[in-house]
Subunit: 258 residues, 2 copies
DNA sequence: TTTTCCGTATTATTATATAATAAAATTGGG
DNA sequence: CCCAATTTTATTATATAATAATACGGAAAA
């Protein structure tokens, strides 16, 4: 009823199947049938049929011993398809590698997806937490340098709405939970032309990011650098890193706003 | 009939939906409905319902202008889930970063999936082709250093079968198409303890890889390094790179053979 | 051993996806 | 710029194909 006319074009089984595929994450590495059913919000019967199908077509590994399911390498094949399809990634990749070499620090590129940023390129030249090395990682935009850099490109209205409504999750003791302080950081980013965080996601990590904007001024991505606060101080990061990030960001022009 | 009893546990709609998700690759970046239907081997009606569903749940982007579909950032979210789930990736990641710093060259880690290798870690410190920088990339095992390193760990029978039946595709003029030469390269790899290629995938690129074996001697992954043949010669690669790769490979012990 | 939990297999029932077709919209050629 | 051709979107009747309930078997725990 409420969904209206499109109902016949919506394939419920597929949606449920995708719920299963998508239920795995950094916390849920592998699951048995019952656990999986519960996590995906499905009854056992449905979970059985769908996992069976996904296993047969190769998207889920099934441990013959424990009968537990986990993501298969096909997950990565999909990622590959995405990376080739994203014009920005193709353009940015060589520049990021260059930048990583020049700075000798970890550089990343992120896109905005709803209220979260998603890292699409990672050039890890230093050790950190595993989550900071892998592609596809999602973080709440408000507390990341990339997110702030991009939000700072919004008009005042959208900026306000983002700051007030988008989620914040505490990652470290120093994550900014006070939304007025987040707003201030974003205003600052708008003035500077780059976003900045310190110890908000990983302790003693400084994040700095410059936005890439499309022709109409809307942010489409960000170029970011993560640096140890133990070896650098913020002033030096502002002076020595920011210009390079901005230079790279400005050198990337996207044909389609996407 | 031929499928037998499991038929009721197989959800066809899900399989078809996954066919659509998986049809995108480096050649097929974005597609209209008809093209998509044909590429996935579905009739137009099915393609319509399934793309509609996948778009609604966020797995496919749909350009409002052209009505063409392309992979969404959700593809990368899945990759993230895989990477967290793979014990090997977690163990290897910091070592790969270290290795990349030490060698100053591009290092990768790959897994075997059927007759193909899949790159699960890439540390790009030098510029190359885009395909050599992104995760999830698949290549025929027989003509890659990682593939040869792993196949060399098979017993004689399996090795023979692989050499005779696994696919080979010509990537450069110098890709080894002669299977007896491939066999020889693999025997050599078995003696050396590492696999080697030159210009077989990218012209003037030397690939060298050491296998990681589980407790029962079966290969589970490979640690690889790609080097410019213009700056290095093979003898030097053998002398200076191989020991480091083997050292790293030996330092990785997998709890579960998977 | 007994009990409990989890995964697997088997049904009848019907909801749900299907395929064919029609309508609308977009593109390209002349 | 208009018409023809192609592609996308919307609408149906129909039966296939997915469903949910239940029963079975095996493994682990008590």
């Amino acid at each position: 009823m409420s969904k209206g006319k499109q109902d016949t074009l919506f394939v419920g089984s597929l949606e449920k199947g995708m719920r299963i595929l998508g239920v795995f994450d950094e916390r849920r590495i592998e699951m048995g049938l019952t656990e999986l059913a519960e996590a995906a919000g499905l009854d056992k019967s449905a979970a059985q049929r769908l996992t069976n199908t996904l296993h047969k077509i190769g998207y889920l590994n099934k441990d013959p011993e424990t009968r537990r399911y986990s993501p298969s390498l096909k997950y990565l094949e999909l990622a590959n398809a995405y990376l080739w399809s994203d014009r920005f990634v193709q353009l940015a990749m060589p520049k990021m590698i260059e930048l990583g070499r020049k700075l000798g620090e970890r550089v990343n590129a992120a896109r905005l997806d709803g209220s979260e940023i998603v890292y699409v390129i990672r050039i890890p030249t230093q050790l950190t937490s595993f989550g900071a090395m892998v592609v596809g990682r999602r973080l709440p935009a408000l507390t990341t340098s990339s997110g702030r850099a991009m939000i700072a490109c919004f008009d005042a209205d959208a900026r306000k709405r983002a700051v007030e409504t988008w989620p914040i999750v505490q990652a470290t003791p120093r994550t900014t939970l006070d939304r007025s302080k987040v707003a201030a950081a974003i205003e600052q980013a708008a003035r500077d032309g780059y976003g900045l965080t310190e110890s908000e996601n990983i302790m003693n990590e400084i994040g700095i990011a410059a936005p890439i904007v499309s022709g109409d001024g809307r942010p489409v991505a960000a170029v970011q650098c993560s640096i140890s606060a133990l070896r650098w101080d913020i002033a030096r990061v502002r002076n020595e890193i920011a210009p390079h990030l901005i230079e790279v960001a400005n050198s990337i022009h996207l044909p389609k706003p996407r």
